[in-house]
């Protein structure tokens, strides 16, 4: 049966697609601009060239910034996954009166404006010498990404029947073995997707990086911020295009992992 299309539905559709265009066009527009031969960012783009991509890959500064961001994001993904999974597991299976404190501290990094945390960390890290260092960035980004890992893992662990671990232990497994052989394989896709999203959040994080970056140690978002603020060269659309492609890849990866975890949990 097909729903009758009336004027109301048409109007709603038109409005919705207009809003979607508003959302997606600014993102898509950078792609043709990244291939434009113009030296200044005029519209419409003219010609076709890869020189802006070449400039990005040839520039030592851009490469250094990218490499720093990759390192930070990679380590952040690992730290946040380990710490977040351990804490979530303790909350789901443990006995503790710390639950409400845990929940308040967890939403803290989401609620409190990043500018506040950035300024606080700027001051604190300078006094202890972590400013502009990889460990400093990783610590800061771990705090920012922990809530996302915890929400993902809480959903995943909540779906694993606690009796499965009991069953494993009745079979002679220790608690650790029960986790290692039963629970971990079942939540692994969620863990991987949580880590993936921690990676992209850290990799794209602009505010804390803005304040923590030193003269020499600059993350990619910080370098981009300066470029946009000062001269807005056509390298930016090229980098933006690369970042959009990265986001798409990570979303696809996360989607694949989630559908895997769905087929697995439906087996249980």
């Amino acid at each position: 049966m097909k729903a009758p299309t009336d004027r109301g539905a048409l109007l709603l559709g038109a409005y919705v697609y207009a809003v979607l265009a508003f959302i997606i066009v600014p993102l898509v527009i950078v792609i043709p601009m990244s291939f434009s031969q113009n030296d200044y960012l005029a519209f419409p783009p003219t010609g076709f060239t890869l020189k802006w991509y070449a400039e990005y890959f040839d520039s030592r500064q851009w490469r250094a910034a990218t490499w720093l961001s990759v390192q930070v994001a990679f380590l952040t993904a690992i730290c946040a996954s380990l710490i977040g999974t351990a804490a979530t597991y303790a909350m789901v299976r443990g006995r503790s009166r710390l639950v409400s404190l845990f929940q308040i501290l967890l939403i803290g990094p989401i609620i409190v404006p990043h500018i506040a945390l950035a300024v606080g960390l700027y001051l604190f890290f300078q006094t202890i010498g972590l400013s502009g260092t990889v460990p400093g960035f990783v610590l800061a980004h771990t705090v920012l990404t922990l809530p996302f890992v915890v929400f993902t893992m809480a959903a995943a662990l909540g779906k694993v029947d606690a009796n499965l671990e009991s069953a494993a232990m009745s079979c002679g497994a220790t608690r650790l073995q029960a986790f290692r052989f039963v629970t971990l394989p079942l939540v692994l896709p969620s863990l991987a997707s949580g880590a993936l999203f921690a990676f992209i959040i850290s990799f794209d994080e602009p505010v804390v990086s803005f304040f923590l970056s030193g003269i020499r140690q600059k993350t990619l978002p910080r370098r981009m911020f300066e470029d946009i603020e000062q001269n807005l060269t056509p390298v930016i659309p090229a980098i933006a295009t690369l970042l959009i492609v990265l986001s798409i890849l990570i979303l696809l990866g996360g989607h694949a992992l989630r559908s895997r975890s769905k087929t697995q949990s439906s087996a249980g």
Binding site: L105, A116, L121, L139, I228, L243, S247
Partner: protein
């Protein structure tokens, strides 16, 4: 091995972790949060009332200076405007998203979720291209003959509002979508069977039931917008600062730490109190669940 309660701390009883393992597993989390989140912010709050000497003077400076009051009002007004625009733009999308299936549903979902996971800098940069003197918007307006002179769009408050709405819109759409999805289809059918027109069904069944999503999304957008930094810093006018850009200026140019700390204090306390008051409504897990 004597008492049940004592042994429970040291040994797992098979269903729940032992108290000891629970604590050990939580230590890294609490350590990181305490060290990298609670302490730095507490330190700022202390500075705001303790330097140069124990005083509330730093806070007095925030409210005494009309320039600073205007920054606060502009920040509130901008956040409110962005929230209102997000509701107007976001609700129909969320409603549509909850009704369609198949390819169209996937298309809408991609349009909503992809921006959420792409860099704020990319999105802000994109708007700065669009708002250029010779950017897409001005080129289009002049090609259509609507104007002979390019408008000044970049470095205005309008640019900030438009770009922030663009960045925060997914945070509005997803909670509303979540609340709409949780309305059983039976309600809609029941209303139809009872003779309600589609408009009446929408107004009397769907709208009230989706209100929790609207409130939750609005809070999320409003709270985030209050402390937003990147977009105002890159697209806004230096004459029309928001609280975050003012903080940045105090630290990077004026080096007035106590005053910057007081500004951060005002922002943090305001946001935290709002979040605590509405803690039941703010469903972060729902946002995450549909976003990831």
């Amino acid at each position: 091995m004597k008492g049940g309660s004592r042994s429970r701390f040291w040994h797992s009883d098979g269903r729940r972790l032992s108290g000891l393992s629970t604590v050990l597993l939580l230590v890294p989390f609490f350590a990181v949060i305490a060290f990298v989140f609670v302490y730095p912010i507490a330190q700022l709050l202390v500075i705001s009332v303790a330097e140069p000497h124990p005083t509330l003077g730093n806070y007095a400076r925030v409210v005494d200076n009309p320039v600073h009051v205007r920054v606060l009002m502009r920040t509130l007004w901008t956040a409110a405007l962005v929230t209102a625009l997000s509701v107007v733009l976001g609700f129909p999308v969320a409603y549509y998203m909850s009704r369609v299936k198949g390819v169209r549903a996937a298309l809408v979902a991609v349009c909503v979720i992809l921006p959420l996971w792409s860099s704020v800098l990319v999105r802000t940069a994109a708007w700065s291209f669009l708002f250029q003197r010779n950017g897409l918007i001005n080129s289009a307006l002049m090609a259509l003959g609507l104007t002979s002179q390019p408008f000044k769009l970049l470095y205005t408050q309008s640019a900030v509002v438009i770009a922030m709405t663009h960045v925060l819109l997914p945070f509005m759409i997803l909670p509303i979508y979540g609340s709409l999805r949780s309305i059983p289809n039976d309600y809609v059918r029941a209303a139809a069977v009872l003779g309600a027109t589609r408009l009446r069904t929408f107004l009397e069944v769907i709208l009230p039931l989706s209100l929790s999503g609207v409130v939750s999304g609005s809070l999320l957008v409003f709270l985030t917008a209050l402390g937003f930094f990147i977009t105002p810093a890159l697209l806004g006018s230096p004459q029309e600062m928001m609280i975050s850009t003012l903080v940045s200026k105090q630290i990077r140019e004026v080096l007035d730490w106590p005053f910057a700390a007081a500004l951060v204090g005002v922002l943090t306390v305001f946001v935290t109190v709002l979040a605590l008051v509405f803690s039941k409504t703010l469903r972060f897990d729902r946002l995450m669940g549909s976003a990831s």
